[in-house]
Symmetry: C2
Subunit: 337 residues, 2 copies
């Protein structure tokens, strides 16, 4: 009797071990199924900006973090506190020393940052640029807004708001390249697509709320028939809204189109004082920057000389993260969550 009992115990034990082991291997058993894309939680990916405290980066970082969570890797956020190339270079040097799994950086100055970006790439760290690029650097990819197209979209929205008729003007920051591109896209589109519209003035708002307000006040005085103003950045847009309010009272027929989705601008869209604002694909910039770095890291981890030996690079050259037109109808989707 006792011997038989012992055999039972043994058999039950073996059976339990067998069941658990089967359970352990079940997922791997189907030859068609794979484990999915999953990284190592110890791999740290770094996002580097300038003026690191401003609202604009929040949605980029959210995208960066969302992708990291899905891929089971870690992120860190750093940046220069000021609009300062030397400070950003120092931050980038500190990151390089830590040998992260990848760096996504928005270059405060494309020329001054190029050498440090190349140093990171040469030391085997994958680097992509987002929002503000460095076209002559060795970074593997750029992800950002096509600013000319953003100007084109703004012009078409303006035509829709004004019935495709009347005088319009631009308030911009002429010395900044991306703002010049937005201005060009807007001007060319008004000229070529809307023969009954006329661009009567382009004024310098210096990226500043007060200067833009004054520029808008002048415009309204000089062109009493003005039906629309396109502000190529958000401080300017708020200034223009103030000027138009002061001059004509709320419910003005003068339509304002602004740029970006900081809270101040969105509030004015919600109140109807800014008719539309051009939202950049900031979440996409962050999400796809992390995704590209993940792929580059995996490739370089297997073979650090892969790209030096002319292997094709497994990420796109340039990603246009797109533009959304935000109006009262969809503004609630754009407040930071």
């Amino acid at each position: 009797m006792k011997k038989l009992w012992m055999v039972y115990v043994l058999l039950i034990g073996i059976f339990l071990v067998y069941v658990l082991n089967y359970k352990l291997q079940a997922d791997a058993a189907d030859p068609w199924e794979t484990a999915g894309l999953r990284g190592n939680i110890e791999d740290k990916y770094v996002m580097v900006t300038f003026q690191s405290g401003i609202d604009y980066w929040k949605s980029v970082l959210k995208g960066f973090e969302d992708a990291a969570e899905e891929l089971n890797v870690s992120v860190e956020y750093h940046g220069s506190t000021q609009h300062d190339a030397n400070e950003q270079m120092t931050v980038l040097e500190q990151m390089i020393a830590k040998k992260p799994a990848g760096i996504a950086i928005s270059a405060v100055n494309s020329e001054l940052l190029t050498a440090t970006i190349n140093k990171a790439v040469d030391s085997g760290i994958p680097v992509v640029l987002f929002d503000s690029g460095a076209p002559d650097s060795k970074a593997y990819s750029f992800l950002g807004t096509n600013n000319y197209n953003a100007g084109v979209e703004a012009a078409r929205k303006m035509a829709q708001l004004t019935g495709g008729k009347g005088e319009v003007a631009i308030i911009t920051t002429p010395e900044q390249h991306n703002h010049q591109e937005r201005t060009d896209g807007f001007s060319v589109t008004i000229r070529s697509e809307f023969p009954e519209m006329k661009l009567v003035a382009i004024k310098d708002g210096r990226g500043d709320q007060v200067a833009s307000r004054e520029a808008a006040q002048q415009l309204v005085a000089e062109y009493p028939k003005l039906t629309g103003i396109f502000a190529t950045e958000s401080n300017g847009g708020i200034g223009v809204a103030e000027a138009v309010e002061t001059k004509q009272g709320a419910g003005s027929l003068l339509k304002i189109i602004s740029f970006d989705t900081d809270k101040g601008t969105l509030d004015l869209v919600k109140e109807g004082r800014i008719a539309a604002t051009m939202a950049q694909g900031t979440w996409n910039m962050g999400y796809w920057s992390l995704t590209e770095l993940f792929h580059l890291h995996r490739d370089l981890d297997e073979d650090p000389a892969a790209y030096a030996n002319n292997k094709p690079i497994p990420v796109p050259d340039t990603v246009d993260t797109g533009i959304d037109v935000v109006t009262r109808a969809n503004v609630d989707n754009y407040y930071a969550k």
Copy 2:
């Protein structure tokens, strides 16, 4: 004695069960770790082309399949056998009826395909376009070559090959928009960046080997000092190589730059008869098309009305998959595997 032995067996059994169970749960235990990106093997993603048998699509399909394998989803490949919009429309209609998880399509004719593409999107199927777009359709994204930039790169390579001096010509297919863009990028760059070079002629090679050979023979006769020819597509490039060989013998000083990486072209690069060819990021087109569709499918699966309600779209507007310059030094990386 026997009782003691039984206790040992029991303890060892319990210990084994404990160890296996621990192993089973170890991965899930860390609250910071996530499962990674992984789809359902039953989800089918479809790639649709035209002239579906040609070499050009192989590397795109490889990228599509590589991404699907990593993400644990399935793929199917379809297309019209001919360069025929009606045939491709029929194929696309058949795919829509099967309700796949996503469709990536290269439109043989952007205008004629737009209605059918919109039908797919309206029925809740995520659609992206690759290689050849349909800009006025509702597709969520376009992934392909920026052909103007490809022409710019070809011009710079030509300058490098010829020492930045001498007369150059283009053989192209003028009525095709993407070829016109390659021609423009090349022409503008020669004019603006290389004052000692001169573009002396642009000839129609009709996308055909024989016509391009004849065009090249005429060029060589008319411009005896010609130092370079840029063929904007691969049949033309092979024709040009034949013409130059016949006229001047191998080792000619006349440098040929061609386009794409079919076996015929790569063989001529390897032999040194074509100096360089511009490789499109075909693998990237496929890989990132599948990746974008995977994300769109996941989003629309959770909430089919997500984008109709103005939710920002979680994929980029446009992806420039980039251009690589292929020479003898790196040609071996570009043969289809």
